[in-house]
Amino acid sequence: MTSQTITLVLVLGLLPLAAFGYRLGRNKWLAMSATPSPFVGSAGIFGWYVMLGALKPVLALNLLALVANMIDLFSLPGPILASISFVTATAGMAYALKAISPHFKAREAIETTIRRLLFVASLISIFTTIGIVVSILFEAIQFFRLVSIWDFITGTQWNPDDAVRPDGSIDSTLFGAVPLFAGTLMITFIAMTVAIPVGLFSAICMSEYASTLTRRIAKPTLEILAGIPTVVYGFFAAITVSPLVVQAAAFFGLEAEYTNALSPGLVMGIMIIPLVSSLADDVISAVPQNLREGSFALGAFPSETIKWVVLPAALPGIVSACLLAISRAVGETMIVVMAAGLQPVLSWNPLRGMTTVNVRIVDAFTGDQAFDSPETLSAFGLGLALLITTLCLNIVSLVVIRKFRQQYE
């Protein structure tokens, strides 16, 4: 009997059992009360109560067994687990049945169970965050045992390959992540110079100028941009935009590398336009109409109203949108993996090939180096840096937007 059959037996066995419990509970209540009180609940509620009474302990039991199995405490053979499950289910059902009396408020009892269940569901987000932090932190700590944090943050040489000396010691100065941070920043900066003006002006146009028809066309157009997967943008950046950039640069007598930082930056900027425009659109529409009307009444043109009234009022929201956009650009992986280079250089020239934090993370997981090498571990150090950066950006952005909302709502 494979474990999958056991699962099947268990699930298929529990279902009729639960249905049986439902009938038992319902019938017991019907038999007991000739004149049911409406505030106790309808007969079906008691059925549900018994059903839950049967399933709850089984769920707890299996959860326990699973956790025990995972942390290697003990492991129950499938058939045994299945039989225990059935016994517990029956016992739970009997217990729940016993509780039913003419004044028993099954509805409240169920309500409590549901409330708990919902609460647990909302906790999953916390567990996810903890999971992300933990899964990165442990290995990152291992990495920072080998390499000093200071060297990592301030060093300007990224050359992990040469970092392991022949005697096995590690030259921590060759794990300077500054060139990677610089590459990320450069590409983010280029992306922002595209995304913020275009996104912001699109939002202004749609909320202040455009006719209904234009808006109806423009909005989905921007949404399509948001719906294109990043791997597609990556392909486009590498196959189409990069050669164009090189040709354009050659036209101006400049030399560009095929893995230049400009092409992924530009394409990433386009990708982020809808994010900026929809967030900015939200905050601009949240600015109370009477502010605009006041300005128009004083004879201001729309552009003046926007510049002197709407934008200042919406500023916190726009700042928050920009921060989120930056966070998105910093975290974007596929475009840079496919279109940016692998060369850790410090340069102000966007036509040069650059590499970014995310590229190195992916590279560390697909490269050819030995697995216990500090280079693989460095991915977690970089992941930690990425996590902290985006975390700060997101939280600042959230705080700012909340302040903004409180102001006008």
Binding site: T2, S3, Q4, I6, T7, L10, V11, L14, L15, A18, Y22, W48, M51, L52, L55, K56, V58, L59, N62, L63, A65, L66, N69, G78, I110, I114, L117, Q157, N159, P160, D161, D162, R165, P166, A238, S242, P243, V246, E257, Y258, T259, G341, L342, Q343, P344, V345, G353, D363, A364, F365, T366, G367, D368, Q369, A370, F371, D372, S373, E375, T376
Partner: protein, 337 residues
Amino acid sequence: MARGFLKVLLAATLFVASASLAQARDQIKIVGSSTVFPFSSFVAEEFGATGKFKTPVVESTGTGGGFKLFTAGVGTQTPDISNASRRIKRSEFETAEQNGVTDISEALIGFDGIVVAQNKDAAPLNLTLQQLALAVLAEIPKDGKLIPNPYTSWDQISPDLPKRKIIVYGPPTSSGTRDAFEELVVEPVAHKLGGYEKGYKKIRQDNAYVPSGENDNLIVQKLTKDKEAVGVFGYSFYEENQDSLSVAKIESWTPNMDSIASGSYPISRSLYFYVKNAHYDKVPGLKEYVELFMSEKMIGDNGALKRIGLVPLPAAEREKARKKVLGRVKVTKEELK
């Protein structure tokens, strides 16, 4: 119904999760080197298309990443085969032993040559290993101490080389080609020149050496445009692009199938795969897959290996390698370094 249904669904999910802990598998799993990946998946495809077994899953995790998964333990959870562009290291083998992976066999499958390629229209280059190394070394010994590599033009290295700017598009640090390049070119030359610490193999990081991914068609585009630059990558990649590229001779040897297989061409490396002998009776088709992989049709003189641009072993070597892996000869710690 919704409430009860949700609970059952949840329970079922948990069960599937726990059930999978000890799950049987009818599909071969292969991980490892990105150099062997194209060939390995070719064999896998052939295996699936022509036989009664499922097509194996081949994942390109890099040699190191492959060994990490491969050595994690025995059982259907772990891969059956790991491809490698170098031999397994002693440290990796020790990890394997600790995790109970004691019985593995090694198969040498062929060679991968590293070439120095350039634009087809550029004047032919004939380099020695030393000249090549001097062009890419991070530091050069001068008057008894090391100075940062001053060479910007080939003729500065040796007057008989053309007056051409040094721009080398070479493999990035994470690539196996880089490892091989360092081990076969940089390290021996540094050792010969003297004045370096032991095992020195640093490559310069200025504009003269541009790390570029080997699977990247952009490197070819760059070379077709830039007549000064040279590219360093695997022979297979050069063969793909013979129409637009030419190769430099190294130590007067032109890289081709013969010179690489005979070992005359100095920059070549061996390719391997490792298989867990304990998995033969657990995973159906594993034996047949290994047999097909080692057959003449695949790694022979006119086999698929060659068509993919890798270089077959000489016939005698091939026979030896085949016997070794099919005879399930154990790899021992002593033979590794």
